[in-house]
């Protein structure tokens, strides 16, 4: 039963990479700037999830610290982009 975990992690990573590719397509194609900001936000959340999966695969629990740092930084980035968007920095 323990050999089920690596297989499940690879399958989950495959699904996650497909979702990240879809979000990246929206990031490239998005007609307006807020679309791109939403796509970047969801890509960063997917990176947190991918780090949790990699920490299960490799057994390195340190990677969860990286996940927490990414979650902190992406919130600041999204809020800063939203504020500068509302003030009209980007035309």
């Amino acid at each position: 039963m323990t050999s089920l975990i690596p297989f499940a992690c690879w399958l989950a990573m495959l699904i996650l990479v497909a979702g990240m590719a879809a979000a990246f397509a929206r990031l490239v194609r998005g007609p307006s700037l807020p679309d791109r900001v939403v796509a970047l936000d969801v890509m960063a959340t997917m990176a947190v999830g991918a780090l949790a999966l990699v920490s299960i695969q490799t057994g390195e629990s340190v990677l969860l610290d990286v996940a927490l740092a990414i979650a902190l930084i992406t919130f600041l980035g999204t809020v800063a982009l939203a504020m500068s968007l509302e003030r009209g920095v980007f035309k």
């Binding site: 039963m1 323990t2 089920l4 975990i5 499940a8 992690c9 399958l11 989950a12 990573m13 699904i15 996650l16 497909a18 979702g19 990240m20 590719a21 879809a22 979000a23 397509a25 929206r26 307006s32 807020p34 679309d35 900001v37 939403v38 796509a39 936000d41 969801v42 959340t45 997917m46 947190v48 999830g49 949790a52 999966l53 920490s55 299960i56 629990s61 969860l64 610290d65 996940a67 927490l68 979650a71 902190l72 919130f75 999204t78 809020v79 982009l81 939203a82 504020m83 968007l85 509302e86 003030r87 009209g88 920095v89 035309k91």
Partner: protein, 118 residues
């Protein structure tokens, strides 16, 4: 054995939710519906994946870090989505043409780009 089965189920369902949110962000018709997919689906997916990691390690520090990350994401994702949606509405991003209701009409000033000049 039960725990490893639970780890597999949680990891697969979390990745499924995140893949669905990626699909939604690609296929939804306008920005405000895309935000549904990004905020709710991705938050639930990352919470399930972090719970899977906490169950896999079964360590107090790892569990605390995973719970902290989940709490932080659940606290900040609605705030970020609210600010971004408000800014996008103020910048007159168009709603989908089949939208039923526009609750921000008359409540959010849509002339924000005229008030401030950089």
């Amino acid at each position: 054995m039960i725990v490893s089965f639970a780890v597999c189920v949680l990891a697969l369902s979390g990745a499924g939710f995140m893949g669905l949110s990626g699909l939604g962000i690609l296929r939804m018709p306008d920005l405000f519906t895309r935000m549904h997919a990004s905020t709710k689906g991705a938050s639930l997916g990352v919470a399930l994946l972090l719970i899977a990691a906490a169950l896999f390690f079964q360590d107090l520090s790892v569990g605390t870090k995973a719970l902290l990350t989940i709490a932080f994401i659940f606290l900040t994702a609605p705030v970020a989505a609210h600010m971004l949606g408000r800014a996008a509405y103020a910048k007159k991003i168009a709603l989908w043409e089949n939208s039923v209701i526009d609750e921000g009409r008359g409540k959010i000033a849509t002339g924000a780009d005229d008030r401030h000049t950089p």
